[in-house]
Amino acid sequence: MTEKPVYHVILYKSVSRALLSEKILKNAGIPFKLIPVPKNISSDCGVCIRFLPEDRERIEKALSDRVEIDAIRPLL
């Protein structure tokens, strides 16, 4: 049994920004998953990008100046 990884999520002010990030990260070949925003973070029916903390740096680099991020939070 491997330990469950501690994921982080990137939150956005709009769905289109999440989708733009999806395209950029896919092209960059960085692993992630587009998931609904967890209920404990927001009751909004939004989507966010889930990723592993070790990829944080390259994700931020790939998205910088291209997509406006609202927040990055650990997924509890």
Partner: protein, 203 residues
């Protein structure tokens, strides 16, 4: 004074769960509910747990249910704690989810693709899993190796859901050898599953 449990505005099976917990903790409670389904469910739970049940209807849409455990009588542990008649969920039989398209909803395809991903991700995490998931028409593409949705379908399959992938459809799109979740199935199984399901969900 008995403990008052305010279950107004809560939907089934919440009032029953609260009432059950209350009885176990305090022995005597008053449950406030504001709909007749909740009233009947709490009343039934009280009866099956060996409580004395009195209902007061002040006529303002709120019902006061007075439940008093009889001394010496243990609440029946075997009684289903959340058994209730919650309208549609009283249907019995397996649940089938039909994904007739690789999008969720009609109108905007980009949005529909996001929604179906979110839907399957949520299903994996959800407490209740469907018995069967049927994929047909462009829905079969959700099981394509390398797609964003195939891993979630695989997880659902591993947790016991049967996933039927329409063979005709996979053949039509020439992706039969690239299907990575579920089993290639046929219209007999698909129609049969739908006909015998208690509930068919088409998101």
């Amino acid at each position: 004074m008995p403990e008052i449990i305010d279950a107004r505005g809560l939907s089934c099976p919440q009032p029953v769960i609260l009432a059950k917990k209350g009885i176990e903790k305090h022995g005597e409670i008053i449950v406030l509910v504001d709909d007749t389904t909740a009233l009947e469910n709490v009343r039934r739970m009280g009866g099956s747990s060996g409580c004395k049940v009195d209902v007061e209807d002040p006529g303002d849409g709120t019902y006061k249910i007075h439940l008093k455990g009889r001394p010496g009588e243990k609440p029946e542990k075997s009684a289903e704690p959340t058994a209730c008649n919650c309208g549609s969920s009283s249907v019995s039989g397996p649940t089938a989810i039909v994904l007739a398209c690789d999008k969720m909803g009609r109108g905007n395809d980009e949005l529909g693709a996001v929604l179906i991903k979110s839907f399957l991700h949520t299903l994996v995490d959800s407490a209740s899993h469907p018995d069967t998931i049927i994929l047909y028409n462009t829905g079969v593409k959700l099981a394509l190796a390398g797609s964003d949705t195939a891993p979630d379908l695989k997880k659902l399959e591993e947790s016991g859901a049967r996933i039927l992938v329409c063979g005709t459809c996979a053949n039509y799109f020439e992706i039969k050898d690239k299907i990575s979740a579920g089993t290639i199935s046929n219209m007999y199984d698909i129609a049969g599953t739908m006909m015998t399901a208690g509930k068919v969900i088409m998101p």
